[in-house]
């Protein structure tokens, strides 16, 4: 992974920069080499680089003050939530300051009548729901990392989760933000009302991977918990048939909260690991529906009827909470099971649902060509694939082969009408593949937005756009310093 040369001027001014940051953020600056190491990577652990320093502000004002110092000193800033990005979204550069919002985790306002919660963005995803669960409400987007990941990162990556088939992803549940621009200006977008009066700037801030501003507060939509939920497990003898079943369920007007798909390698690995009692078959679907008991029964009848038309090898309905938990057990331990066997990288491309069988077949063929095993476990209802490519990090060259294989899969996703990333973001990981999805003028238009919010290109450097494409802007910004 190529990163830009660190700015030698910044490196040489480290002492002064730390001193200035300390002046505005007493007690909130980390700069000892041993301590900044804790921030050298996110969940894409293959890439690491300790930052120049780390600041941990407690208020929006402190964020603004820290950004002003960095801007004046020409120091790149990498915003950070909980560091669970799988795309290297919060990977530092040696000349950067990490701005972590982990100390900003307060609930600022809960309003059930108007169905929103306002929080500081360092708050974890699960604890947002935690703040309203007792009163029967929840915050819908639920990334599997929800125990750890922060709302800040969710907004930056526009994160999804297992239930987004019904409830949408972060952008559909985000009503407003308070954010600080690189020059220290505090901007409020949206709020407790529903739509933008002018351009939908909130819409472009969500998913901008920390490159437009530091988001310090968020107004999030909360919903009343459903009366109940129950899954059904359906096994098929081929991926094609399972794919066709998914498509038929969607067409029939049933709107499950989740349709999860696991292929044979994944079923076998999780079965060895978690012993959930899954049938030994080629493809498994877990379909979950919500409502009252009668409503659940009505929907499950429709789903079972559709599933039966495709001749399943197994159709198992959860009769109680215990059986429901058993059905989810394997799916939920899938990543752990894979990690138990081997190192893996997790891809995140999205494809039109109709292309599922073809794409799974091609991935199987490529797996032979590259000599690396792949297991597929993903959100089938919306075509968001998560191929896990297994490799051995201790064997020289395997990471590179694995990455090359991953790149081919993502190109395939784009070829069939899909995209490089459905919920994890581009980060550094997919930066250099952007040219496969977007033409130069498409990227130019996106970068024009960055030019407006962060004219010096100091926020979260070297992410999202290929380095070659951003070079002119980066050099111009350096020269202007």
């Amino acid at each position: 992974m190529q990163m830009p040369e660190p700015n030698a001027g910044v490196l040489s001014r480290k002492a002064r920069i730390v001193e200035r940051l300390n002046a505005v953020l007493p007690g909130g600056v980390i700069h000892e080499e041993a301590e900044v190491r804790a921030y050298e990577c996110d969940a894409l652990t293959a890439y690491r680089c300790p930052p120049l320093a780390v600041v941990l502000p407690s208020t929006t004002e402190e964020v603004a003050a820290a950004l002003k110092v960095c801007r004046a000193e020409g120091v790149p800033v990498v915003p950070r939530g909980a560091g669970t990005s799988l795309a290297g979204g919060s990977l530092p550069t040696a000349d950067s300051v990490i701005l972590g919002v982990s100390r900003m985790n307060e609930v600022l306002e809960v309003d059930y009548d108007n169905r929103f919660i306002r929080v500081q963005t360092g708050r974890t995803n699960l604890s947002v729901t935690g703040a309203v669960a007792e009163d029967g409400f929840f915050y819908a987007p639920d990334p599997s990392s929800q125990l750890a990941c922060a709302i800040a990162g969710n907004i930056a990556m526009n994160s999804g989760g297992a239930h987004c088939l019904k409830y949408g992803v972060t952008t559909n549940n985000l009503m407003g933000v308070k954010m600080v621009l690189m020059d220290g200006t505090v901007v409020e977008l949206g709020g407790a009302h529903l739509d933008a009066g002018g351009l939908d700037l909130l819409g472009v801030v969500c998913g901008s991977e920390g490159q437009l501003g530091v988001v310090t507060e968020a107004t999030l939509r909360i919903l009343r918990q459903p009366e109940g939920a129950r899954p059904v497990l359906i096994g098929y003898s081929s991926n094609e048939v399972a794919g066709a079943c998914v498509s038929d369920i969607i067409k029939a007007g049933v709107l499950p909260v989740a349709i999860e798909f696991m292929d044979a390698p994944c079923i076998r690995a999780t079965e060895d690991f978690a012993k959930a009692g899954y049938p030994d078959c080629e493809a498994l679907l877990i379909v979950e529906v919500e409502g009252s008991d009668a409503e659940i029964a009505e929907q499950l009848d429709k789903i079972k009827e559709i599933a039966s038309r495709h001749d399943p090898v197994e159709l198992r309905e959860a009769k109680d909470a215990d059986e429901a938990a058993r059905i989810w057990l394997g799916r939920k331990s899938a990543f752990g099971a894979m990690g138990n066997i081997n190192d893996y990288i997790c891809l995140d491309g999205t494809i039109p649902v109709s292309e599922l069988p073809y794409v799974l077949r091609r991935i199987g063929e490529m797996s032979q060509e590259f000599g690396l095993e792949v297991a597929n476990v993903f959100h089938a209802g919306d075509g968001n694939m998560h191929p896990l490519i297994l490799f051995n990090a201790n064997q020289p060259g395997q990471l590179e082969t694995c990455e090359a294989f991953g790149a081919e899969i993502l190109k395939l996703c784009v070829e069939v009408g899909g995209c490089l990333t459905g919920e994890h973001g581009v980060g550094v990981e997919k930066r250099d593949l952007m040219g496969h999805q977007y033409a130069p003028e498409d990227l130019e238009a996106q970068m024009a937005v960055k030019d407006v919010f962060d004219p010096q290109w100091l926020l979260n450097p070297a992410k999202v756009f290929p380095l070659g494409v951003t070079e002119a802007r980066r050099t111009a910004a350096l020269a202007a310093e």
């Binding site: 059930y112 009302h193 529903l194 819409g203 472009v204 459905g422 498409d442």
Partner: protein, 370 residues
């Protein structure tokens, strides 16, 4: 000017020497786009892809909305964000286009549950003010590849570019519908009742209040949609929340459809004299805002989060409303106050700068603010 292809359109924009105004069906004439040559999208029409099993539809901007709806209907699907028809309210005629719906981010009562047009927009192609052809997003449900310019274009009213293709997520039509109706509530009581319904687990897909219903008396309405058994169950449960009030359930699909189309298209204000203001606010603030504004008539949608107010001509609603969480747009009527809500300084500066990037010559919808 009526380009027949995206390439031709791009060439026209490149060659343009003066301001341009994009025109789809001309049915949503809110705000004055200013002088300039009219650029019609009618030559860029047609649905290019409809994949019912993937819930996706791709169309060129000049495609009539009615054509899209008919095609979807044949597969038992629909545009779930329920775009309103502005013709009755604005007194316009003509054919609404899908490009116009997207460019104005037009939604309806279901917005509170499923989201707005922008939430269903999966991808766009557009020609910016320099004549460059740009694409963003795609046609898949989940896509976080690069910045989300799709949201930026939704509701941009032709100020950033001319749309040449839109991809939308569509949803199945429900098997059954019902309205739970409560009679006789005052505005504050109605908004409280709507909040109660929206805060229930019964998946309310419409929450409106008409201080003057069809028979002149106040009626508060909650809509339920889904499979027949489920709609039965939920409408009974929902009605039970209001058993101390004059509550009834309407199950006739035709009657339910008519009721909600009237809310969607603000029927009570069609043809009535006066200005029409659209106020987006925190739902529980709505009755207080209405009291300050003292309009001639009012319709509450989105549980109170959307207020349509009919005022006497020339009323400066913003002056009367004062500061609040939200904004007000004058969708009909003339006056010296701006049509669109002025934005706070830093936001206005960002908007202006983005426009200058996408349209450096300032030729697109030059009359619109921002």
């Amino acid at each position: 000017m009526r380009p027949g292809s995206e390439a031709e359109l791009a060439e026209m924009v490149r060659q343009a020497t003066g301001p341009l105004r994009v025109r789809g069906g001309g049915t949503r004439t809110i705000g004055d786009a200013g002088a300039g040559a009219v650029l019609e999208t009618g030559g860029l029409a047609g649905v290019t892809l409809h994949e019912p099993g993937a819930l996706t539809l791709v169309a060129r901007p000049g495609t009539p909305l009615a054509e899209v709806e008919k095609l979807l209907d044949a597969e038992g699907q629909r545009l779930a964000f329920e775009p309103m028809d502005h013709r009755g309210l604005l007194g316009t005629s003509g054919t609404s286009t899908i490009g116009g719906v997207v460019a104005a981010n037009v939604s309806g009562p279901r917005r509170i549950q499923v989201g707005a047009c922008r939430d269903f927009l999966l991808g766009v192609r557009f020609v910016d003010g320099t004549g460059a052809v740009i694409k963003n997003g795609g046609r898949v449900m989940k896509n976080v590849t690069g910045y989300d310019l799709v949201k930026l274009l939704a509701g941009s009213r032709g100020t950033l570019g001319v749309l040449t293709e839109v991809s939308l997520k569509v949803l199945p039509k429900p098997e059954a519908v019902a309205s739970v109706l409560i009679d006789g509530l005052d505005d504050a009581g109605a908004v409280k009742a709507l909040a109660r319904g929206l805060g229930s687990p019964f998946d309310v897909t419409g929450a409106a209040h008409l201080p003057q219903g069809p028979d002149g008396a106040p009626v508060t309405m909650l809509r339920i949609e889904g499979f027949a058994g489920s709609v039965d169950y939920r409408s009974v449960q929902l009605a039970a929340l209001f058993d101390s009030m004059a509550v009834r359930v309407e199950r006739d699909p035709q009657a339910v459809a008519t009721t909600w189309a009237a809310v969607r298209d603000v029927a009570p204000m069609q043809g009535a004299a006066g200005d029409v203001w659209r106020i987006s606010c925190k739902p529980s603030d709505a009755p207080g805002l209405v009291a300050r504004l003292e309009p001639r008539a009012v319709v509450y949608d989105w549980g109170g989060g959307l207020v349509w107010a009919l005022t006497s001509e020339g009323t400066d609603a913003r002056a009367r409303l004062g500061a609040f969480d939200g904004h007000a747009t004058r969708v009909r009527g003339a006056g010296t106050t701006p049509v669109f809500p002025p934005e706070p300084g830093p936001v206005a500066a960002l908007t202006r700068a983005i426009r200058a990037k996408f349209d450096p010559r300032g030729i697109l919808a030059a009359g619109l603010p921002g």
